[in-house]
Each structure stands twice: as structure tokens, then as C-alpha cells.
């Protein structure tokens, strides 16, 4: 079992998400994260899927993905060959007595406060998957009200 980052360039049409995710679910794979958005090419979108699985079976999934009529290209990236980012929003309780510490923490990890109202702050964090996880952990010391992560997006280096 190895972590795979699969990137898919496809037509931006209804149903393409179901077709793609179906090829994972029918083999009993749980998609760890999935992010999708438009690209610089009109009418095309790009998926980044992170999934844990057997190399041979995932190679079969990659080939089956490639066969989908709406899929233009599929890459199964090796971790070392990509630049990847994940984005998280974190709503934390910022009580007066903690604000100084929190502010220091925020600036030390290059997070940003994007919303602040009375004693609730919403922070924005960006980094690779591990960074984002450890940053979130740092705030567990304070009260996290809500959090959300985008899932990884990735491109090949160079």
C-alpha cells in the first residue's frame, strides 16, 4: 500500500466526477482527498486525487481512467516529483488572554487572519499536506471551533 497522487485532465462536463470516482469505489478504494477546478484551458478541469492502494491495482485504475472518453490525460505522480499545496480554513476561539500568543503563532507559520469578530478568528493556512496537518495541530491547544481543508492540488515539477 502506497500513497498515490493522481492527476486527471478532463472535459468539464456533467457526470465526469461520477465516472472518475466510480472507478475507485468499485474496487473498494476510499479517496483520501479530491480537489477539482477549472484550468487555463477553457472547458477543461483538473482533478487531484489522493488515494492509498496497491500499486498494481492503481495502475489498472489509471489505465481505466485513461479510457474514459471525457478524460484527456492521467498522471500518477511520485511524491518527490511534484509540487503540492493544500489549503485550510480554521476558526479558532481567540480569547483576549490568548491573543498575543495566537498572533505570534499565526505569523510564525505564515498563516493569515482573514476574518475576526469579537473573540472568533478565521485563519487561512497553506502548505503541503503534512505542513497543514501540523499547523492545525498547533492550534489544538486553543479551541478550534470549525476547520476545513481543500484536499491536495499538485503539479509536476519543472
Amino acid at each position: 500500500m502506497k500513497k498515490h497522487t493522481i492527476s486527471i485532465l478532463c472535459d468539464d462536463v456533467p457526470g465526469v466526477m461520477t465516472r472518475i470516482s466510480g472507478l475507485f469505489s468499485r474496487r473498494g478504494f476510499n479517496i483520501e482527498s479530491l480537489s477539482v477546478g477549472t484550468t487555463d484551458q477553457p472547458g477543461k478541469s483538473r482533478f487531484t486525487i489522493v488515494v492509498n492502494g496497491d500499486d498494481t491495482v492503481l495502475e489498472q485504475v489509471r489505465k481505466q481512467l485513461q479510457k474514459l472518453i471525457n478524460v484527456i490525460n492521467v498522471w500518477d505522480y511520485k511524491e518527490e516529483s511534484i509540487v503540492a499545496r493544500e489549503h485550510a480554513l480554521l476558526k479558532v476561539r481567540a480569547e483576549r488572554k490568548h491573543r498575543g500568543e495566537l498572533l505570534q503563532l499565526v505569523s510564525s507559520i505564515q498563516a493569515r487572519i482573514i476574518d475576526a469578530s469579537s473573540d472568533v478568528w478565521t485563519l487561512e493556512i497553506t502548505g503541503d499536506t503534512d505542513d497543514v496537518s501540523s499547523f492545525i495541530d498547533l492550534f489544538r491547544h486553543y479551541e478550534i471551533i470549525e476547520s476545513i481543508r481543500t484536499g491536495k492540488i499538485a503539479l509536476k515539477r519543472g
Partner: protein, 558 residues
């Protein structure tokens, strides 16, 4: 309607005409009625099935018999869901079927309207591609696209779902556009370097073997295969889907391999040193168990679908491309590799195969099939699924070509009768013969009514053993309880059933009766059902009853 104006359904039908469609197998309903309105003034013939599943198998039989695209049509909701088994059958055997479904009007989609189902959602896993057409102007190009996808590369079913309001909407027919599918570029040209390497491997091998699969039919490479076999002298075995890839009487054809294969064929996989697999996908019916499969790492795997390479077996050399042109290239480059010792070793194994005697007076399934063949000239045989199917695969000695149609991948009971109707529509000059069991026949027996209304010639033999034979056999071999779940009873009168549905019914209990029936010229005109009374306890052998392809037995009882 003004000049140049048309409406959705009309544009659909016009496009189908332009693509050369001659017949549609279908069933009407609220959501596809506009298509029937347009069919009224079309050159396309419509066959009214009596169940949408029947329509889908008819389109499938038509496609398998000709290599052309078979078209079926259903309404929304239950019409569409009834097509699903037929679509899946075509998908598993890579048959080009175009399924068209009416959908509830656009403004009702997603409201759980009457007869609404998510047709494209349901059929995603069993189609090569499917689409919902939402804009009437797209109908012509989408239909052409669907047809193109269906009939190129690795063939397979495509479904088009069109809402009723889109079918009825007026518009001006746009100029035909060139189809651009950025994500669909089947790789048909096999790599010359790989061809060279394959030739070298085959020439250096001492015990080469060909495994022919369904790809020979899909790519229509019968002649090319024969030429290759004869130039090289390499012995051939086939998977169930590869039956009739090469004539059964060819001296280098060593028969079917796999679960119910011949001992020699399974042994050949073990004893060969290089295997040339031609359009075979190494399904579990062929390999039994991938852990114990003796073919690994000696396979030159030729397939048009890159996803088949390495899916089940470890290959020695992959060749992705069209089989027909690949065989041409291989034949051009290769010299004779025949190894007489190897071929005679296989002949020797085969000569020791158990020959079960066939009774002279009574009928059993092999006897029925042998008697039939005395009277049939190059028949087009369609089988159902079950014990009779395996008897048929072994007993029928057929010529190479589209002469043996069966649901191999999905194993769909109820396939034979409707598929034979489709085949008979496609090939009016041929002797179309269906063989079914009494279990599978009943699964789509309503299609006798369809057949009765058509001007076709076909005979459907029903092997009446009063059992679900394959189930009996599996229970005999692998289960102990003795629960008699497969007893179909003796109260069905298949002759009356046939007659009540408007086709001729006959019954044969003895060999003599079957002979005299087959001698009667009138059997070859119109639609006939022949019920053959055969013994219930007659299992089909050889059969693998262990963990490996080589654990094959030739008789029961162990």
C-alpha cells in the same frame, strides 16, 4: 414545418439513416414516442420486442452476427432499466450496441417524475460511454460521436439518453461537424519494434502456442489468423469467446481452454514456452486462479485496449494495436516456426482424451447436437447460458467466422432466443440455430411472440432436462446439502407454449424422432421451437474442479 427546420427525434432518425442503420429493436413508451413519430417516415425498420431486455439482446445478436452496430431503443424509467442486462452483456463481450433511451422532459428531470430514473447514472459502469443530450442542436453530432465510439477501438455499448422535450423541439439542422474527441484516440497501430521482438521470441521458441480470444471476431481477423497459423505452423487453442476464430476442423486447432476446456488445451498452456495471446483478456474462466496460472511471463499479449495489458497476467511482451493489422505485420515478418515434436506431443495428449459414447436410440445433449449437425450446413449457432452452452462449445464443429454467438463474459441466461432473432434479421440467408436450456429459454421466451411476427427463419432447440443443469452440476461437485433448488418440474409444455405464441413447436424424445424432424424441409422455413427431452443428470465435462487449470477432470464422481 418550414423548409430546413426539423425536430429532435427527426434529426436523430436522419442521423441514424446517414450512419447506415437498417433496423432498430425497441419498445415504445411515453418518453420515446417522438422517436416513433420520426420512424414512421424512415427507411429504418423497427422490430417490436416484447421486453426491452429482448430488444437489447436482439441488437447484440445483430451486431455479433454482422460486426455492424446494433441499435436498440427504449423509453425512460423501466424501459431503460430493462435494457441494462442487455447492455452489460454487450459490454462484457465488447459488442458495438447503441442504446437510445427517451428521458422525462428536461423540466421534470430530478423531480422523481413518472417513469424517471437516472439512466446515464445507472449505465455508467456497463457502457463504454454514455451521454444525456440536453440541447437539441447537439443531437446529430452526439449521435455520430456515439456511433464512432461504439464501433472503433475496443468496441462496446454506448447509451444516449434524450429528454422528451428535446426530442420534440424544433430547430434548424446544423451543418455536419467533424467529430473531435480529445480524450478518445484508440491506438490501432502496433509498434514496429514490438512486432520485431515478438517475431524473434516466436522464432526462438520451441513450443509456441496461440490463444485466440474474442478479439478475432471484434477485429474480423479470421483470414489473417488462418494465414498466420498456416505460415508458422503454431498450434492454437481458444478461449470460449474465441470459438470459431479458426475452423474447428483445422489440424492445428486444439480446442477450448479454461474451466470447461479440453485437457490438451489446458496442458498446452502449461507446456508451451511462449504464448501469443490474440485479443484474449485472461478472464477467470480461462485462468481459473491467477496464482496457479501456468502462463505468466511467457505471454506476448496483443490487444487494442492498453488496460488489458498486465491486468490479469504478467506479460513477456505487450503489443497494443488493432489485431488485424498486427497479424498482417507478424505474418509478413515471421518465418516458419513449426516444431513437429511439439505439435505431435499435443496430438498425443489429445488422443488420450476421454471419449464419452453417445447413445444410439435415446437423446442426450451431445447426441442432439451431433444429429443437428448432420443436417445443418455452416449454421450460425447462438447459445444460451448453462450446461448446454458448454456442450455446444465442444460438440459443434464450426467453420471460422461469425458462426457461434454466446454471452461469454456476463453469462446472461435468456440471451439465445432474442440474440438469434437479431442474428436472423441480420443474416436472412443463413441457417440460424439457437440452443437453449429449459431454464434459460424461459427467461426471454416472450420473444417467440416477436419472432412469430417477423419474416425470419430460425430454429430454437430447447434442451429439456427439467433442471437448471449448470446449477445441478455445481451442487454435485461443490455442495453437499442436496437441496433440490434446480428442479424445474415437468409441467411445462414447450410445444404448446410455442404454438400459443404463434410459432411452430415440436418435441423429440428419441434420436429417430429428431432425425425425422431434421429431414423435414419445412423446419427450415419460419420460426420453430424444438423441445428435446434429455436426461437430467448429465453433467458437462471436462471441468476444472481444483485450484489450477491443470486440475481438470473428464468425468464426474472423482
Amino acid at each position: 414545418m418550414k423548409k430546413g427546420r426539423t425536430y429532435g427525434a427527426k434529426a436523430l432518425v436522419k442521423t441514424l439513416e446517414k450512419l447506415g442503420v437498417e433496423v432498430i429493436f425497441g419498445y415504445p413508451g411515453g418518453a420515446n414516442l417522438p422517436i416513433y413519430e420520426a420512424l414512421a417516415s424512415s427507411s429504418i425498420k423497427h422490430v417490436l420486442a416484447r421486453h426491452e431486455q429482448g430488444a437489447s439482446h436482439m441488437a447484440d445478436g445483430y451486431a455479433r452476427a454482422t460486426g455492424k452496430v446494433g441499435v436498440c431503443l427504449a423509453t425512460s424509467g423501466p424501459g431503460a432499466t430493462n435494457l441494462v442486462t442487455g447492455i452489460a452483456t454487450a459490454y462484457m463481450d465488447s459488442v458495438p450496441v447503441l442504446a437510445i433511451t427517451g428521458q422525462v422532459p428536461s423540466f421534470n428531470i430530478g423531480t422523481d417524475a413518472f417513469q424517471e430514473v437516472d439512466t446515464t447514472g445507472i449505465t455508467i459502469p456497463v457502457t463504454k460511454h454514455n451521454l444525456l443530450v440536453q440541447n437539441v442542436r447537439e443531437i446529430p453530432s452526439r449521435v455520430e460521436e456515439a456511433f464512432h465510439i461504439c464501433s472503433t477501438g475496443r468496441k462496446g455499448p454506448v447509451l444516449i439518453d434524450i429528454p422528451k422535450d428535446v426530442l420534440k423541439q424544433d430547430f434548424s439542422m446544423p451543418e455536419p461537424k467533424e467529430i473531435v474527441l480529445e480524450g478518445y484516440k484508440p491506438n490501432t497501430d502496433s509498434h514496429p519494434g514490438q512486432i520485431k521482438r515478438a517475431v524473434k521470441l516466436l522464432e526462438q521458441s520451441r513450443r509456441p502456442l496461440i490463444i485466440a480470444g474474442g478479439g478475432i471476431a471484434s477485429s474480423d481477423s479470421y483470414k489473417e489468423l488462418k494465414h498466420f497459423v498456416e505460415k508458422t505452423g503454431i498450434p492454437l487453442i481458444y478461449t470460449f469467446m474465441g470459438k470459431t476464430a479458426l475452423s474447428d476442423s483445422h489440424p492445428l486447432n486444439f480446442g477450448m481452454c479454461g474451466y470447461h476446456g479440453k485437457v490438451v488445451a489446458n496442458q498446452a498452456i502449461d507446456q508451451s514456452d511462449v504464448i501469443l495471446a490474440l485479443g484474449a483478456r485472461f478472464s477467470n474462466r480461462h485462468t481459473i486462479n491467477l496464482e496457479t496460472y501456468p502462463g505468466h511471463k511467457k505471454i506476448i499479449h496483443v490487444d487494442i485496449d492498453p488496460a488489458e495489458i498486465g491486468k490479469n497476467v504478467e506479460t513477456l511482451l505487450p503489443i497494443v494495436g488493432d489485431l488485424k493489422s498486427t497479424l498482417h505485420k507478424l505474418t509478413d515478418h515471421i518465418h516458419q516456426t513449426a516444431n513437429e515434436d511439439w505439435v505431435s506431443r499435443l496430438r498425443d495428449i489429445d488422443s488420450r482424451a476421454l471419449v464419452t459414447p453417445v447413445p444410439e436410440k435415446e437423446l442426450n445433449q451431445p447426441a442432439v447436437m451431433r444429429i443437428m449437425q448432420e443436417y445443418l450446413e455452416n449454421p450460425l449457432v447462438i447459445t444460451d447460458v448453462g450446461r448446454h452452452q458448454m456442450f455446444a462449445a465442444h460438440e459443434f464443429k464450426l467453420e471460422a467466422g461469425r458462426n457461434f454467438l454466446s454471452s461469454g463474459g456476463l453469462g446472461t441466461m435468456g440471451f439465445a432466443l432474442p440474440a438469434a432473432i437479431g442474428a436472423a434479421m441480420a443474416c436472412p440467408d443463413r441457417q440460424v440455430v439457437a440452443v437453449a436450456g429449459d431454464g434459460s429459454f424461459v427467461m426471454n421466451c416472450q420473444e417467440m411472440i416477436t419472432a412469430a411476427e417477423l419474416d425470419i427463419n430460425m430454429i430454437c432447440f430447447v434442451m429439456n432436462d427439467q433442471r437448471l443443469g449448470m446449477i445441478v452440476q455445481l451442487q454435485d461437485e461443490f455442495y453437499k446439502s442436496g437441496f433440490d433448488i434446480s428442479n424445474l418440474g415437468s409441467h411445462t409444455d414447450y410445444v404448446k407454449m410455442a404454438e400459443s405464441m404463434g410459432v411452430a413447436g415440436h418435441r423429440a424424445v428419441t434420436a429417430e424422432e429428431l432425425h425425422s424432424l431434421m429431414k423435414d424441409k419445412s423446419l427450415y422455413q419460419g420460426v420453430h421451437i424444438v423441445e428435446c427431452i434429455v436426461p437430467p443428470g448429465e453433467n458437462t465435462y471436462p471441468m476444472v474442479n481444483g485450484e489450477s487449470l491443470l486440475d481438470i477432470v473428464e468425468e464426474g464422481g472423482r
